[in-house]
């Protein structure tokens, strides 16, 4: 095959797919990118057998064909080439000659047949979701995904399609983030699936600002199609826990907080929380919160924030990282912190359908 393509386009295409490339070298073909040239398009595909990504760019095809080349090496070369047309000529032995201006590279590839084909989707349930809304929803939930591999069902985000709503849930057992999105679909399409963490990362990368993404849910896999880019992933098998159990009932106290101000204050105070007792204490008094942390033998930090608070005086401690994570992911100016008592979970809410349940730490 032989084609020429502009450096920017090829680089953009490679960057879309190269994150999936497996760093494990057990199967050499998995570190290669599949290149298919036909009909004025160059299609690039990578997979690690769990997640696969495919994208395409416009190219001038002189001789159609396909091959696989080492993805990271190709990307490094292309990145360093001068901004100009790149011509790639691959012979029947999968040796690629790359020419650009005065530069010439020859790299060895592997035959296309060795590349594992991406799965086909038949009788899948399909949904159309606003790209922007989904990207925003992933941002608000993905930080709460568990990395504990023994609880593999929690190593992803739950996508629950029910009653014209898509609910995304992530939890690691100490906190839980949840977002509801309005999505139109017939009743027959109600389904629940757990999308693995790696797929969530790739999905966030391909989601743009405009238009819808097409999501197809198969037996044990899922595909997302945005424009020319296709992302296919295996699903996590198993039952996602009944997350509703975690969400506390009616709150006793509600505090409205200025998100950025609160985030910065917690961040500053957390500088003096220790690894061992990793907590910051929030002390609520009339129209005031005091945020405090201390580490024995090191020192302590305190910061007070004026707030509209008329409830009873009490204090509660949280893990500062867990408290800051949603505050960073949200973009609203104002967030609400709902509390029951010292030992019951706190809930962060905003005006739109989002909630974050956070377990308190014991105050010693």
């Amino acid at each position: 095959m032989k084609f020429s393509v502009s450096k920017e386009k090829l680089l953009a295409g490679l960057q879309t797919v190269q994150n999936v490339v497996s760093t494990r070298t057990t199967l050499p073909i998995l570190s290669n990118v599949l290149l298919q040239a036909e009909n004025g398009q160059l299609r690039l595909t990578t997979t690690d057998l769990d997640v696969g990504v495919s994208g395409s760019v416009d190219a001038l095809i002189e001789r159609p064909g396909s091959t696989t080349l080492p993805a990271r090496r190709l990307a490094t070369i292309v990145r360093e080439l001068p901004a100009a047309e790149i011509q790639i000529d691959v012979d029947s032995k999968n040796v690629a000659a790359i020419r650009c201006g005065q530069s010439f590279f020859k790299i060895l590839g592997l035959p296309e047949e060795e590349f594992p084909p991406l799965p086909k989707f038949e009788d899948a349930k399909t949904f159309a979701i606003s790209q922007q809304a989904l990207r925003d929803a992933l941002k608000k939930t993905s930080y709460a995904i568990s990395t504990d591999e023994t609880r593999y069902v929690l190593n992803g985000i739950l996508f629950s399609f029910k009653e014209n709503k898509l609910t995304l849930v992530a939890t690691d057992g100490r906190r839980l983030a949840l977002v509801d999105l309005e999505v139109e679909f017939p009743r027959s399409q109600e389904v629940e699936l757990i999308v693995p963490s790696k797929c969530v990362t790739e999905l966030s990368r391909i989601l743009g600002d405009a238009g819808d993404i097409k999501m197809s849910v198969g037996e044990n896999q899922v595909a997302f199609q945005a424009g020319e880019t296709l992302l296919i992933s295996k699903l996590i098998e198993g039952n996602y826990p009944n997350y509703r159990q975690v969400i506390p009932g009616e709150a006793k106290e509600r505090v409205a907080l200025e998100r950025e101000q609160f985030l910065n204050a917690v961040h500053r105070v957390s500088l003096l929380s220790s690894d061992k007792s990793n907590s910051v204490k929030l002390v609520f008094t009339k129209n005031n919160i005091e945020i405090a942390a201390n580490t024995p033998d090191v020192g302590e930090a305190k910061e007070t924030l004026p707030v509209a608070y008329k409830g009873r005086e009490f204090s509660i401690a949280f893990n500062p990282e867990f408290l800051m994570a949603p505050l960073r992911a949200l973009s609203n100016d104002e967030v609400y912190l709902d509390l029951i008592d010292e030992m019951s979970p706190g809930v962060i809410k905003i005006q739109s359908p989002f909630l974050y349940v956070l377990m308190p730490m014991r105050i010693s």
Binding site: G173, N239, P241, Q245, V246, S344, M359
Partner: protein, 466 residues
């Protein structure tokens, strides 16, 4: 063997644990997470909770496991690992609530069988203790009361009271007896506790074997999974750097896992030469109990108890004689008693009289007398023998006619007493240990070469030891 507790008690046990939890968590938390939990299995190692679905497991494991474990500790008096059995479909589980019992029981029985198997297989390896060494057989007197009480407390509640427990005392005062008693008491009370009793020498040997055969993992598994680790004669770990290091890690693993550790030695931890300080500090972490030489009354009581065990009858003055003459060592006391008993049985059960005893136990009594020789006695005796003044023994003057007897006295002091070189030096007018060592070497050489010296030393020795 009652490995698994009867199922009918489980709701009550859970109710107790739950009420302990209730005081620790908010009512909201309790209602939400603990109301639906049932206790379905309880073994000495773990307990299994049945929860409606996996969110209970995830949430309880992440947030309440420490509270739950302390509640379990409070109720059951020993820690257990918490397992979860899930009934994923709550409606089914509820409707079937009348029937599932047999299945559960079957499961429990299966588990029970498995565990009985593993236990009987482990029974021979875990013990290795003398069955006669029990708390009942241990005679308590004022000098060992504290150590005995500490051991009893440890045996009654392993890893809760004194951990580690360090027992030390001279030879034959009952260290091993107490250790065996602890091991057997725990074993009798809680079948299935993994008790490892070992001498530090065996520990060292096994460690060396493990290094040679590359079976360190197995070695570590054996010791680090023990519920109770009893190590006898820990002083032999001195000078064994790598074994000490290995033991250090074993110690930490067990201590962190809240397992009971009991150690014995012939001297307090800080006096075990070349024992790493980190080990010393750990040994001193818990309780250190000393076993002292029992007083005469206790010795008589010990003898009576032993004689009872051998079912022989002896005259009261025999007990008195033995107890008074053999002071330092219970083992020697028992040896003497055994000898008396065998004499009695050879003479149709007649108890020997005191004169007979003196003759019968000549060598033991001689050995015993040696122990009570003081440096002062030696100095007097030697001064008398060489006709020099007692003051010359400690004076700085060193003409040959004084210096040589002084050296003889130092030699005898080193041979006949347990005193250290520097103490002997001090007793001889503040001389340093090198002087004593020099004197000892010099006299020793002279004994080999010079008949007169040999004669004098053996005469002095026999006079002193009488």
């Amino acid at each position: 063997m009652d490995k698994t507790l009867p199922t009918e008690d489980l709701p009550e046990i859970w109710a107790e644990i739950a009420s302990a939890m209730r005081t620790e968590v908010s009512p909201y938390t309790f209602d939400r997470w603990f109301k639906e939990i049932e206790l379905v299995e309880l073994t000495p190692q773990h307990l299994t909770l049945r929860a409606p679905n996996n969110i209970y497991q995830f949430w309880i494991e992440s947030n309440y496991i420490h509270l739950l474990q302390s509640a379990i500790l409070l109720v059951l008096r020993s820690p257990r690992t918490v397992k979860f059995a899930l009934c994923e479909k709550p409606h089914e589980a509820r409707s079937a609530a009348v029937h599932p019992e047999p299945i559960e029981k079957e499961k429990a029985e299966e588990k029970q069988e498995k565990e009985t198997e593993t236990e009987s297989a482990g029974a021979t390896t875990t013990l290795g203790m003398n069955s006669r060494n029990t708390f009942e057989a241990f005679v308590v007197g004022p000098t060992n009361q504290f150590a005995q009480a500490a051991c009893k407390a440890v045996a009654d509640a392993p890893a809760k009271t004194y951990n580690p427990l360090f027992i030390y005392g001279g030879v034959g005062l009952g260290k091993t007896h107490l250790m065996h008693a602890i091991g057997q008491h725990i074993n009798g009370k809680k079948k299935g506790s993994k008790i490892v009793y070992i001498t530090s020498e065996t520990f060292t040997n096994e460690f060396i074997d493990a290094i040679q055969n590359n079976t360190l993992i197995k070695f570590r598994k054996k010791y680090r999974q023990a519920d109770v680790l009893l190590i006898d004669d820990i002083q032999f770990l001195a000078d064994k750097g790598r074994t000490q290091e290995e033991f250090f890690h074993t110690f930490n693993a067990l201590f962190d896992g809240r397992k009971q550790i009991v150690l014995s030695s012939d001297r307090p931890p800080s006096e075990i030469a070349s024992l790493e300080t980190r080990l010393v500090s750990r040994f001193e972490w818990g309780l250190t109990a000393e076993l002292q030489v029992p007083d005469t009354e206790t010795r008589v009581a010990i003898l009576r108890k032993k004689a009872e065990g051998m079912s022989i009858k002896l005259l009261p003055e025999v007990f008195q004689f033995l107890a008074e003459r053999i002071r330092t060592n219970v083992r020697r006391l028992e040896g003497a008693l055994t000898r008396v008993a065998s004499y009695a049985s050879l003479n149709e059960g007649r108890s020997p009289n005191v004169e007979k005893l003196e003759q019968l136990l000549k060598d033991i009594l001689h050995e015993e007398a040696r122990r009570s020789i003081t440096i002062d006695q030696i100095q007097r005796r030697v001064a008398e023998h060489y006709d020099v003044r007692l003051a010359d023994m400690t004076s700085k003057r060193r003409p040959q006619n004084i210096a040589f007897p002084r050296q003889i006295a130092m030699y005898l002091a080193r041979e006949l007493t347990k005193t250290s070189l520097s103490e002997i030096g001090n007793a001889f007018g503040g001389r340093d240990h090198g002087t004593v060592l020099h004197a000892h070497r010099l006299v020793k050489e002279k004994i080999l070469k010079d008949d007169k010296t040999r004669h004098a030393v053996s005469l002095l020795d026999s006079q002193l030891s009488r």
